[in-house]
Symmetry: C2
Subunit: 427 residues, 2 copies
């Protein structure tokens, strides 16, 4: 039977009740206590304090005192580094890559190993309420495909990149320029028909790629309209190294720009700590995402992105867990660390303002979400991607919905998440 009211077919609708919190604007939280949210065709139709009479025939899923927030989006994370969390963090970037990371990534030639690590990695994303993410795989397409299958099983969403390297890494992590390109094309072609999972072009970082490879990847991105993710200006020694490897480019960003890997399609540049003023302006003009990975940057003693400076210039600043240099996959931890990192910059330079809690939350939900389309907010027309949070600690009942969210961000954990929704469906 089809229930119809006016021109609306009510069978298509879902209604949740609870305390909804989200950030339409970065400067404040929108809080809808004990309200009704209506989902129609995957998207938010509206939030009502009192349920309109015409919707009364529809069953309401009542989450009572729980808070319901947009699920998290992670714009920078390395799936193969999942077991590296917390290990080897006494080193800085280049040594950490050579001593731990490359050694580790070689193991992904073995599909059994990949299956073990990737299933744990994807489960952890899911458990922590990160339902969309931009993920680095390795150079190995068989293993990358296993990663994609694991993501599919959990019914979550991701951009996944086959990593490209044809120089400056151990021999068995390198491919010829042609093989690297050919396998990237295969990876894209094999994975272009999924709704929730998409390929993304992923040169590891400038030093790992010859100019020829960078140019061909840029051409491919433009020709097939595929977005790009890579690293930029994470560590001072890395910046010097890039200057010596690419002497004809004005700066690090220019290496990507000149090869059509910067802002032609949607582009993620992870880290972006030591940018020259010209590069900062370019990030704004080209509308790339500069992705702040606060824990990874401290763990490898790299530095701290001037996040409020970038934000106040109107740059799209995203957030990333950057596991494994980042030690936790949880985006609540990343939100907390982004706030702490801005406080540290403020301690050392009073002129830099602190990132507020609502801003950091906005970055991890609505701004990060914009890379995937209309998600990360509960405004009308947004895909309903959400997590429901209800600590089983009795003492939490003393808190207001916003305080519950603050506590969840600072000291909650995955066990507090009692339900997950992607595009209107519980997953």
């Amino acid at each position: 039977m089809i229930i119809e009211v006016g021109d609306e077919i009510l069978n298509d609708l879902k209604i949740l009740k609870g305390n909804f919190i989200f950030t339409k604007e970065k400067d404040f939280f929108e809080i809808h206590e004990k309200s009704f949210l209506i989902i129609k065709n995957k998207r938010v139709l509206g939030i009502y304090k009192n349920l309109p009479k015409k919707y009364e025939p529809i069953k309401v899923k009542d989450y009572k005192d729980a808070i319901i927030i947009p699920s998290f989006v992670d714009l920078h994370v390395h799936a193969p580094q999942y077991l590296q969390q917390g290990v080897g963090l006494d080193l800085e970037l280049i040594d950490w890559l050579n001593k731990y990371t490359f050694e580790n990534e070689m193991k992904f030639v073995n599909e059994n190993y990949a299956k073990k690590i990737y299933s744990a990695f994807v489960k952890d994303l899911y458990d922590n309420g990160t339902l969309r993410s931009c993920i680095f795989g390795t150079i190995h397409n068989n293993s990358n495909q296993i990663l994609i299958e694991e993501i599919k099983k959990r019914k979550i969403s991701a951009f996944v990149g086959k990593v490209n390297m044809d120089q400056n890494a151990p021999e068995n992590l390198l491919q010829t320029t042609d093989d690297s390109l050919k396998e990237t094309i295969e990876f894209i072609d094999n994975n272009s028909k999924e709704d929730l999972i998409k390929p993304i072009i992923t040169p590891r970082f400038a030093p790992s790629c010859s100019l020829d490879l960078l140019k061909k990847l840029g051409d491919l991105s433009v020709k097939k309209k595929i977005p790009v993710q890579t690293h930029l200006s994470e560590n001072k020694d890395e910046v010097k190294w890039v200057k010596s490897l690419f002497p004809s480019n004005k700066n690090y960003s220019d290496v990507y720009l000149k090869n059509q890997l910067y802002g032609m399609e949607k582009t993620i540049m992870a880290h972006a700590i030591y940018l020259e003023e010209e590069e900062i302006k370019m990030a704004k003009n080209k509308n790339v995402y500069l992705v702040h990975c606060p824990d990874a940057n401290i763990n490898l003693s790299s530095g701290i992105m001037p996040v409020t400076k970038y934000l106040d210039m109107g740059i799209q600043v995203g957030l990333g867990s950057d596991v494994g240099a980042g030690h936790m996959i949880s985006m609540t931890n990343t939100i907390k660390s982004a706030i702490q990192s801005s406080k540290i910059r403020h301690i050392f330079n009073n002129n830099e303002r602190i990132l507020t809690e609502s801003e950091a939350f906005y970055l991890a939900t609505k701004l990060n979400g914009s890379f995937f389309g209309k998600t990360g907010s509960f405004e009308k027309g947004y895909l309903f991607d959400a997590i429901v949070i209800d600590s089983n600690q009795n003492v939490i009942k003393e808190l207001s919905p916003l305080e519950k969210l603050e506590r969840f961000i600072y000291c909650g954990d995955k066990n507090d998440i009692i339900a997950r929704y992607l595009e209107g469906e519980e997953v």
Copy 2:
């Protein structure tokens, strides 16, 4: 039946098997893989790779692949601030005290409220493997006694302080100098017979106490041989305030020193960020514990203790979660944050060295433990205080015992702790 071998009565012994890790020295981990640890009369008798033949009649508790480490000690934590974790962290110290903390502490005049918060707080200490701690209560002795009963129930160990304030706080958090002193004496006398729980004299910080109160508390400490805990030099504005309140003292430390609250008995000075050189030397000479609370200091934008500088001078540097300005009770989080904080100082000043992982672990176990006696290590003669860690994640099996510990510190949680021992008994 008594089993006897030579002059040893074996019934008194317990034997555990597993992977034991601890820090006898701060510069490296001692790792005893698949070994046997023998406990006699609460204390470690020895660790053996192969169990000596005479002990074979004793049943061995085999923890298999789990790692076994000293349980954690927290040298600075505020029980009444338990529900404040994550809330109000946009403010700096003095405003945070006035706007959130004092308002919150007033509620502890209500014993029902105290019971609810303190039972959750103590459970969280226990759950996180912090089996000994130095705790601030409030001014309210009835509630402080409830805190002590909760600690007793969990069979863990603590120094607990009745907070003293007779100035510079809202009226209903102040007591007269005489009442404050009288109730401190009562609190000490009521709680001096416990084995695991001891009173500690706790002037909140210099600004909250008149010179008269400080002097009387110092006299009391010396007369009854009671240790002291308080705050020192956490925030620049606080340091200026103390100078204006106590103009005849040379510096902040001197306010405590001149009143016999500094190094006469065992003494904890939390924070100690902005010390003058003379104060740093005094900390060493007087053998006080300067307690580093890295998260609290960043959350309130206070600053960062120069922890490796102090350590290299031979100062006793302890670690504290400082809940609620610190947002997590877990000492693994505090270990991680202490390392990160030292990396931040290193980023801003290359001359300052980074705190190593073994050093940070040593602080949270053996050094913090020294405040309680011989605990925090598995050397012969140490009280066997321990936690057993075994993640239920299948993927962890790939890791060595040390890597398991590193992962536990950086991204494990209380659910990974499968057993807790205090003074040789499972609790």
